[in-house]
Each structure stands twice: as structure tokens, then as C-alpha cells.
């Protein structure tokens, strides 16, 4: 009984080590594709449309309602201390440092990350990736690297959009609905937000972008090697769910690590 437990534990540890190594090499090969010629400009633009432009709607609605909720909650909390004028500062700092990068990354994971994972997984299962290799076409440079470049461009831009729309949402709730003085709202924001807050958000969004594309495309690419994933459509759906969950958790863990490092 105890030996079986130790054996299973060892098997699990070896599997995870192997998986980590495989994913590490995957990351290096994907990133090295950035420096290989010819540069796949069209593929990158297409991916920016898929990951970035097509996520705009989701980001807009998430941002505006998040901002409005922050405005409402902030107003009633600050009113207890007679500090409603600090609402602009509270909304903008919450968005720029935390909510903007994290919620944007989670939304991109749900919308584009899952799609990337399923696309690559289906290509693996239907031997399309094998076909590329047989034609001596590097599947990393052809398929994965454009997604890496596109997400590194798209996620920081989407985060900026999220921040602006979110602040507007906070303004709508606080100023237009609850009657906070607009001058106080904006002057509070101006006096408390510094460059470091903005750069922290950008750094976070870049790290989250790498996590999303690495985990989602990597899980799809190795769909046939993931223990217990199963085969065919079922395998792809399980791995896609796993990729979304893993990306989301990684984003939250790295958010804490980065906050601790950057504050």
C-alpha cells in the first residue's frame, strides 16, 4: 500500500518534470521564432485582429461595468469618512494597478486563449502539425510565434483601453449618478496616479500575455501527451478547459508576485 503510494508519487513527479521541460522547450522555440526570417507580418496582423480587435467588445463591457461597480462601492465606502472627493483616485488606482491588467488578461484567456488552445489541439489531432513538419516547415515559426507576437502587442493595448473605459465607468457612476464633484474626481485622480502605477500595469499585462499564450498554445500543442486528457474532440475540450483554468490561476499567482516585487 505505502510502496504503491510512493510509486504513484514518483510517477507523478516524473510526469510533471517531463511536462515542465517540454513546456520550457516549447517557450524557447516559440520565442526564437521571433528572430527568424522571413518575418510573418500578415500572420501577426491576422492574430492581432483575432486576439486584440475581436476582444474589444468583451473588454469594453467588462471595463465599463467594473468601473461603475468600483464607483458605486468606492462612493459608499468613502462617504463614511467624508472623502467622496477621493473617488477618482480610488477608481483609477484600483484599475491601473490591479483590475485593468488582471481582468483584461482573464477575459483574453477566456475568449482568445481557449480558441488558441482548441485550434492548435485540433491541428495536432488532425495531423496538420505533422504535415507541416513533414514539409520541413517549422510549426513554431509558422503557427505559434505569430500568436506570441500578437498577444504581446494586443494585451497591453487592451489593458490601456480597459483602464480608460473603466475610469469612464467610475465617472458615470460617481459623478453622473451619485453627484460627486467632477473637478474633485479628476483632480484626485491626477494627484494620486504616478508613472509607476501605469508602468506596473503594463509590466503585469506583458507577463500575463506571455502566460496566456504559453499555457494555451502549449497545452494544445501537446494535447496527445497530456496524461488523462483522452483522445479526439473530448481530449481537445478537456485540454482547453485545463488551459483556461491553469492560465487564470497563473495570472492570479503572478499578479501577487509582481505586486510584491513592484510596489
Amino acid at each position: 500500500m505505502i510502496f504503491k503510494f510512493i510509486e504513484n508519487l514518483g510517477d507523478r513527479a516524473l510526469y510533471n518534470l517531463n511536462d515542465l521541460g517540454r513546456m520550457g522547450i516549447f517557450m524557447l522555440r516559440s520565442l526564437s521564432g521571433i528572430f527568424k526570417r522571413p518575418f510573418r507580418f500578415r500572420a501577426v496582423v491576422r492574430q492581432i485582429r483575432e486576439i486584440g480587435a475581436n476582444s474589444f467588445g468583451v473588454i469594453f463591457f467588462t471595463a465599463i461595468f467594473t468601473g461603475m461597480v468600483l464607483g458605486l462601492q468606492g462612493y459608499y465606502t468613502l462617504r463614511k469618512f467624508g472623502s467622496e472627493g477621493m473617488l477618482g483616485s480610488a477608481v483609477s488606482l484600483s484599475l491601473l494597478r490591479e483590475m485593468g491588467p488582471v481582468l483584461t488578461a482573464l477575459m483574453v484567456t477566456g475568449r482568445a486563449g481557449s480558441a488558441m488552445c482548441a485550434e492548435i489541439g485540433i491541428m495536432r489531432n488532425s495531423e496538420q502539425i505533422d504535415a507541416l513538419e513533414c514539409m520541413a516547415i517549422d510549426p513554431f515559426r509558422y503557427l505559434i510565434t505569430p500568436k506570441f507576437i500578437a498577444i504581446l502587442i494586443s494585451v497591453p493595448l487592451l489593458t490601456m483601453i480597459f483602464n480608460v473605459v473603466g475610469i469612464f465607468g467610475g465617472y458615470l457612476a460617481g459623478v453622473k449618478m451619485l453627484g460627486v464633484n467632477p473637478g474633485a474626481f479628476f483632480s484626485g485622480m491626477e494627484s494620486s496616479v504616478v508613472n509607476k502605477d501605469i508602468s506596473m500595469g503594463i509590466i503585469k499585462s506583458l507577463v500575463f500575455a506571455v502566460l496566456i499564450v504559453w499555457i494555451c498554445t502549449g497545452r494544445g500543442y501537446f494535447v496527445d501527451k497530456i496524461e488523462g486528457a483522452g483522445y479526439g474532440a473530448e481530449g481537445v475540450s478537456r485540454v482547453t478547459t485545463q488551459a483556461v483554468v491553469l492560465s487564470s490561476i497563473s495570472i492570479l499567482i503572478w499578479d501577487y508576485i509582481l505586486t510584491a516585487m513592484l510596489l
Partner: protein, 255 residues
């Protein structure tokens, strides 16, 4: 020195605790058509993947034109792969590209042909394989037989020395199967490639084969001319012939 273009020497391949290929030795001669036959899960497709370097053997050597494919780095592997064309079981067309772009893909990625030269070559191939008028369609809009033709057109773009066919007629009706074999004859006559065909479609592919390899339980049980296989007295081969070709073809009936 062997004249074989592909040589498997004492190849062993396991997946977990399951042995897929068990000390297989095989020589494929240039310009010939070799059929790899056997039941499901006997290691036929794995043999193709080993030849292509998509899988590595656990032991043994795989030589392609005298070079050990398992020992090659990525760059050397890409070089040697340029002599191969592959028609996959499900055709493996890139589903985000239309027929024209799928066929043009190897030319765009692997040659320095300009846009007009690429277009000319692709149009010629589409014409030869009866695909004119379908060039704007996406793989999801094509029938199984049509997908195979597009897959064959793509595989032939770089004029391969060796063509590998993985179950080329699986899922096709008899008429489409015949079409694929006719295309095989025509393209082999034109391009003079060495063909390796993995197939369940035993009676039909025996007519194409110069040599037949029979795999059973991961072991190579027969490697001979098709007529010798049909007349073999070895019990394992007899049962294979009986099971796949029907009683009509069995040696005892021919005596």
C-alpha cells in the same frame, strides 16, 4: 553497402508498456512500391512516422539514403524531409487555408519561386489532379476523395523522391478508391518516386505492390513479393491472407 533508400535495422518502439515494433528489419528499394500491411494497431503508421523522423525509435537504426534519421538535429531533419512527400490518412490539409493556398504552401515556404511561378506550378498541378474550379474552396467544403487529391497535390509540389501514403483510401467509396489508385499510377509514372503505402485495403494494394511487408503483433512476419505472400505456407501469413483477402486467394485453393 545496401542499395536500399530506406532501411530499418533492428527497430524497437514502445508506447508505455506496449511494444509497437519489435526488432523490425526492413529494406525499401528505390523506385519500388512497398505496401505495409497488417491489422489495426500493428505498428504500420508508427513505421511511417519513424521513417519521417516524427517519432524516434527506442533502439535500432533508421537509415534514409544511408543517413541515420534518429540521430539528426532539426536542421538536418528538415533537409532530409524535403525528399519526402506524405499523403496523410485524413489528408491533413490546413483548414484555415483554401485549396490553392494549401497546395502552394510548400512552394511558398520552401522555395524561392516568385508569386507568378508559384501560381503557374500550382495551377498546373490542380489541372493534372482534376481540381480546377475548386481552388477557392476550404477543406471543410470538400469531399473525402477531393481532400485526398488536394493532399496528393500538396505532397507532390516539391517533387519528392519518396512518397508515403498512410491509408490513402480509408473512408472512400469504391469509385473514389479507384480514382485515387489511378492518380497514384499516373503520378508515380510522372514523378518516378519510391512509394510506401500503409493500407488495410489489401486485395487492391497488392496489385500495386512490388514488395509487401506484413506486420503482426509488432513483428515483421513477411517481407516478399505479393504473389509469394499469397502462396506462403507460414501459418501467420496464411491467417493474414485468409483474413484480409478472403478464401478465394488462399494458396491451398490455387493448388
Amino acid at each position: 553497402m545496401s542499395e536500399a533508400i530506406i532501411q530499418l535495422v533492428d527497430v524497437v518502439k514502445d508506447f508505455g508498456s506496449q511494444r509497437i515494433l519489435d526488432h523490425v528489419n526492413l529494406e525499401i528499394l528505390p523506385g519500388r512500391t512497398t505496401v505495409i500491411a497488417g491489422g489495426s494497431g500493428q505498428g504500420k503508421s508508427v513505421t511511417l512516422k519513424l521513417i519521417l523522423g516524427l517519432l524516434k525509435p527506442d533502439s535500432g537504426t533508421i537509415l534514409v539514403k544511408g543517413q541515420d534519421i534518429a540521430a539528426m538535429g532539426r536542421r538536418e531533419l528538415n533537409e532530409i524531409r524535403s525528399i519526402f512527400g506524405v499523403l496523410f490518412q485524413g489528408s491533413a490539409l490546413l483548414d484555415s487555408l483554401n485549396v490553392f493556398d494549401n497546395v502552394a504552401l510548400p512552394l511558398r515556404e520552401r522555395t524561392r519561386l516568385n508569386r507568378d511561378q508559384t501560381r503557374e506550378q500550382v495551377v498546373n498541378t490542380l489541372l493534372q489532379l482534376g481540381l480546377v474550379g475548386h481552388d477557392e474552396k476550404f477543406p471543410a467544403q470538400l469531399s473525402g476523395g477531393m481532400k485526398k487529391r488536394v493532399g496528393l497535390a500538396r505532397a507532390l509540389q516539391l517533387q519528392p523522391e519518396i512518397m508515403l501514403f498512410d491509408e490513402p483510401t480509408t473512408g472512400l467509396d469504391p469509385e473514389k478508391t479507384l480514382e485515387i489508385y489511378q492518380l497514384f499510377f499516373e503520378t508515380q509514372r510522372k514523378f518516378k518516386y519510391t512509394a510506401v503505402i500503409v493500407s488495410h485495403d489489401i486485395p487492391k494494394v497488392f496489385n500495386l505492390a512490388d514488395q509487401v511487408v506484413v506486420l503482426n503483433g509488432g513483428k515483421l512476419v513477411a517481407f516478399d513479393r505479393p504473389e509469394e505472400i499469397q502462396l506462403s505456407e507460414i501459418p501467420e501469413i496464411q491467417s493474414f491472407v485468409k483474413a484480409t483477402m478472403g478464401h478465394l486467394y488462399h494458396s491451398s485453393d490455387m493448388e
